[in-house]
Symmetry: C2
């Protein structure tokens, strides 16, 4: 059914090594591949011919600078294989199609159904995945699989979403097998922060950073020496309970008073804005209503409302305390923020965060930076799709896929 993945599953280790080298450094010549892989010239020649025949790589045009040299740059063939990436944020559902060259072909965002059970979400994902593939006009057989990123905690061994505080109706959901049944595709499940850090790593040259995820919840992941840490149980990044302000107001919610989540997640910001009588209090069990309430708060701030601006500035200062806890502990020179709500917070956060975090650092760092991700709100979905490509196309495939 899935020609691409069958091809790759039958492939030998050396072929995976060569394809991985080309994916990570587009434009390598056969001579480069020989040097970088340590494989024999004839082996490289055979493997690249097979990969070209399978439409997984293609020959590109040598640049002007290379004129006179016989080496032909090889690149991943964007139309050769694809992965679907899905991100279930409690407010927004993102589905996208990523090609083997790392380009997002198409994506759609939907409101995450609030009143429905997980089975309806599964069906919604399956239907929209089918549409996305059909409308993109690509061969379904060339889709390697579907990666889905969700809030934790997860049991990746069994593919089960355990009991995420951010998805109160999801308890022990066998999401991996349910989605496999609904789509017929190999399915890879992972945590939102891990998928996001994977996408960030693939889209930046930096091998060491803390990734802070801002969506309906807040989370973090660590990239060290070019590796995404995932934690012993694949549940890295639960940072919402970190105390950041001992004097914080009582939000009357389930989260920890004075904690990092209370400082910055949309639900907490909406409650704070309502307490300041800026907006009416939304139904806090409805993430779409919370999202709308936050939009009203952001609009007020954008129009220069002093109280709205003060709420966001206070949020930034509290987030800085939490980020400093993580940077002091794990020792990274760089923090990257991203996720579904980042684009709306960045205007208030970026002018404040870097200096505010730096003031809290035990080890003084001139080079310390805080930046926003270059990947957009779809970062977790993109990362989930990258993880699928990695699973099938890298030499050390993990055992996390049901197929």
């Amino acid at each position: 059914m899935f020609r691409g993945s069958n091809l790759l599953r039958l492939a030998d280790y050396n072929q995976a090594v060569v394809l991985d080298l080309i994916r990570r450094e587009p434009g390598l010549s056969r001579a480069d591949l020989q040097r970088n892989s340590g494989l024999a010239s004839q082996t490289i020649s055979n493997i690249t011919r097979r990969l070209i025949d399978a439409e997984l790589i293609r020959e590109s045009t040598p640049s002007d600078a290379a004129r006179g040299r016989p080496s032909i740059p090889l690149v991943a063939n964007g139309s050769g294989a694809f992965a679907v990436g899905v991100h279930v944020d409690p407010a927004r559902l993102t589905i996208l199609l990523l090609d083997i060259a790392g380009e997002v072909l198409d994506q759609r965002q939907l409101p995450t159904p609030q009143a429905t059970n997980p089975a309806e979400v599964t069906t919604l994902i399956a239907v929209n995945t089918g549409r996305l593939i059909r409308e993109a006009g690509i061969d379904r057989e060339r889709v390697l699989g579907l990666g889905i990123a969700v809030p934790g905690p997860l049991d990746l061994r069994t593919g089960v979403v355990l009991d995420p505080p951010q998805l109160p109706r999801w308890r022990q959901v066998r999401l991996r097998s349910d989605l496999h049944d609904a789509t017929g595709m190999p399915v890879l499940l992972d945590k939102d922060v891990t998928a996001s850090a994977t996408a960030e790593l693939r889209n930046s040259a930096d091998p060491d950073f803390l990734f802070v995820y801002l969506g309906s919840g807040v989370g973090a992941s660590v990239v060290t020496n070019g590796q995404v840490l995932r934690g012993a149980s694949n549940n890295i990044g639960e940072i919402g309970d970190i105390l950041v302000d001992p004097t914080a107001e009582d939000l009357g919610w389930s989260g920890r008073r004075g904690g990092l989540a209370a400082a910055c997640v949309p639900e907490a910001l909406a409650i704070q804005a309502a307490q300041a009588a800026l907006i009416p209090l939304p139904d806090v069990t409805d993430y779409l209503a919370i999202d709308d309430a936050c939009s009203a708060l952001f609009d007020l701030a954008a129009r220069g409302d002093a109280e709205a601006c003060a709420i966001l500035e206070r949020s930034a200062r509290r987030v800085a305390v939490g980020i400093a806890v993580l940077v002091n502990f794990i020792d990274v020179p760089r923090v990257v923020l991203g996720g579904p709500t980042w684009s709306r917070l960045s205007g208030a956060f970026l002018p404040i965060l870097q200096d505010a975090v730096r003031r809290e650092l035990v080890v003084s760092r001139d080079e310390f930076t805080v930046v926003g991700s270059t990947v957009g709100a779809e970062i977790a979905a993109q990362g989930a799709a990258e993880l699928v490509l990695d699973h099938f196309l890298t030499p050390s495939a993990s055992a996390l896929v049901l197929d």
Copy 2:
């Protein structure tokens, strides 16, 4: 001058691989080595002969179970090579001698000079290192080097102790080159928490844990997949500022109010005990006086004094909050506590910590455990010596040694 290290520096990569295998799994036969290394039988035979001639390994006696089999177990030769390990805690200076088989031959603890400058500490270390080697009756030429663990922050690139809050008289100290000049030995500098986690990893079978260091300061390190994380600037583990109790009393000290350091370091405990009128307030610029004051507090608690016990129990509950922040973030199934003051805190901490941390965990973990290290108060010194052995005896030697 250092025959052992010269031998090893001249050694080829394969020899290092074989020696490393034997060090990590004592008792391997030549056939085991062949299997585990992938090297040819004749190569193994040549290398093991060279290592035996150099007195770095020796043949051991086959166990009864192996009778009839011709395979001879090979083990590191304890008398073949050594490393000196030093730990500068602000209150206690530890110097020990570790052999290549991982045994501590001898150790001594001295009060860290309080009123002197770092140069006097360097001299003290050099003199005592010389004595330790002489009294152990070992050949100085077989000492590979000296590893020294100190509180951070450090610049390992230049071997400089920057400005550790715990060593207020140490500013920009070129400790690595100073000690090299004073001893003539190759010197490796590292952080106390990194050295401690290295020793813990070598002495336990567990590849994933958080190590919490308790000395004059508090720190942490992470071991994941059998690797000690050290942070991008080798300064992992600054956790003293993590807020653990928003209602905490004002200690009138330089540390953060309500922070993890204020909850558990000897200086903070002594101030708390003095505020409760249990003991007189010691001179808090004198770590030896602080140490004595804490001893008085621990004695009171051991004799059942209710207020002294309450201070230590409160400390344990606050430490649990801090540990939970780290476990929630980095996702480890196991926490190990150790360091110079651990043996005196363990009685009050161990009955409380595991349950108190577990209650704070976002991901519920039946298997979650909190334990004390099996290595004693000398753990950082032992780890520093292990890092020296690793530097000279493992295939992937780091570039952190000045020699």
